[in-house]
């Protein structure tokens, strides 16, 4: 944490002209920009606000990164599930989001959100049954848009995998173990023999 340097804090004011943003169930409330000196990386921490009347359990959002000339330099998509964001409350996104070095400001747009029985998909809340197929993937980041430190997200959001290493010394074991056991076996017999022999002699 000592490597992190606070750069800036941005409070987001809702643009009343933007109908899309106002209709979003979750809004970006504020974000802070940090830099990591050791890794030479720049990242942001986001705080959202649930402005809907639903308790949100999962949501997906897009992050738009802009440079100093206000040009879009990257767009990425993130998601998080197993949440319990109550209505009209703030929520800090638990992972840091890596941004490009020349990123100066960001914007977010909610792609989808899900409550207990409803799903928001850009066009208001609808019954969840209609969108069952679309809600299966929790994170839907297209490959170009995944930040360099996607690890922190993936650990939270990605489904299970089983990985097995093949071929490398597949059936080889350490022969020393049976040899040591053989020596122990014989040594114990010899010891027992000499002990019993000395007892008999006495």
């Amino acid at each position: 944490m000592n490597n992190y340097e606070f750069i800036s804090k941005h409070n987001i004011t809702v643009n009343q002209d933007s109908e899309l943003q106002v209709n979003d169930p979750i809004l970006l409330h504020e974000y802070m920009v940090f830099s990591d000196h050791k890794k030479r990386l720049k990242f942001v921490l986001l705080e959202f606000k649930n402005i809907s009347h639903e308790i949100i359990h999962q949501f997906t959002f897009e992050v738009y990164e802009y440079n100093q000339d206000n040009q879009l330099i990257r767009k990425s998509t993130y998601g998080l599930d197993e949440l319990n964001i109550r209505k009209k409350t703030r929520f800090t996104f638990p992972n840091k989001i890596l941004v490009l070095d020349d990123c100066s400001t960001i914007e977010t747009r909610i792609v989808s959100a899900e409550s207990e029985s409803l799903i928001w998909n850009g066009n208001g809340w609808e019954s969840i049954e209609i969108f069952v197929e679309q809600t299966e993937p929790i994170i839907e980041a297209s490959m170009e848009e995944i930040p360099i430190e996607m690890k922190s997200f993936s650990e939270d959001t990605i489904r299970s995998t089983e990985i097995m290493r093949l071929h490398k010394n597949e059936f080889s074991f350490n022969w020393l173990k049976p040899i040591v056991l053989l020596v122990i076996f014989l040594a114990v017999l010899v010891i027992i023999y000499y002990v019993s022999f000395s007892i008999l002699m006495n």
Partner: protein, 238 residues
């Protein structure tokens, strides 16, 4: 006094069986190594089209487009290296249940350094994060058609476990058949003329019991070491 002719024949038979089992084990080990060497020799890196690349002070992030037969299912993959931690993630084109694929991992000199079998559970559009070795630089991916569902994969995994158990059993049998004649040989040498009186029924039963304990310990140790040789790494869970 010397041992009976029948006993000697039994001991020689035991010794021959143990030698046969040891040879069998060595052959299994050599053949498994040959299989790996064969893959190393025949499997050459097939260049995938690079879509984007970012380098930052030794760390890198590269996105490739799959060009092989796997492109029907997997369209892109990303290799990321940060602080000696290399990881891999796939973009899966169509939703499939129980996707199984092989990942051939190469170093920067295009030498095959690892082969991974990855099994994805559930419907996903993106694979879990797969941790690679430090030297991993390039990969090729191949869909494992034989194991395209969970049942086939489980069956294949059970087969491997069974093979591990068989090898552990064989090593324990080899130990048993080798240790028993060696025990007679050693005790015969130590006890000289009292060898026949030493190997009475009670003593033989005790020796057998002790030997069985040793063989069980050997089975456990060998099985555990084999399991470690073929590690199953649980991926990152939701």
């Amino acid at each position: 006094m010397t041992l009976d002719r029948e006993v000697l024949i039994i001991l020689i038979v035991f010794f021959v069986i143990s030698l046969f089992l040891i040879v069998l084990l060595i052959r299994v080990q050599i053949s498994s190594k040959n299989k790996y060497t064969l893959v190393r020799k025949t499997k050459r890196y097939e260049q995938d089209r690079i879509l984007s690349e970012r380098n930052n002070n030794g760390s890198f992030e590269r996105i490739y487009e799959v060009t092989g037969s796997a492109k029907e299912v997997i369209d892109k993959y990303q290799i990321t290296k940060i602080d000696n931690h290399t990881s891999l993630i796939f973009n899966i084109k169509k939703q499939v249940t129980g996707l199984c694929f092989k990942v051939f991992v190469y170093n920067k000199y295009n030498n095959l350094i690892d082969v991974l079998l990855v099994q994805e559970e559930g419907q996903t559009k993106q694979s879990s994060l797969i941790k690679l070795g430090v030297n991993a630089f390039l990969i090729n991916v191949e869909i494992e058609d034989r194991l395209n569902n969970k049942d086939d994969y489980d069956k294949w995994k059970r087969g491997r476990k069974f093979a591990q158990k068989q090898i552990s059993f064989i090593s324990s049998y080899a130990l048993f058949f080798l240790a028993f004649p060696l025990c007679f040989l050693l005790m015969g040498y130590i006890s000289r003329n009292q060898v026949v009186t030493y190997f009475n029924t009670t003593n033989i039963m005790m020796i057998l019991a002790w030997l069985i304990v040793i063989c069980i310990v050997n089975f456990i140790l060998v099985y555990r070491s084999l399991s470690k040789r073929m590690p199953t790494v649980k991926g990152i869970k939701k």
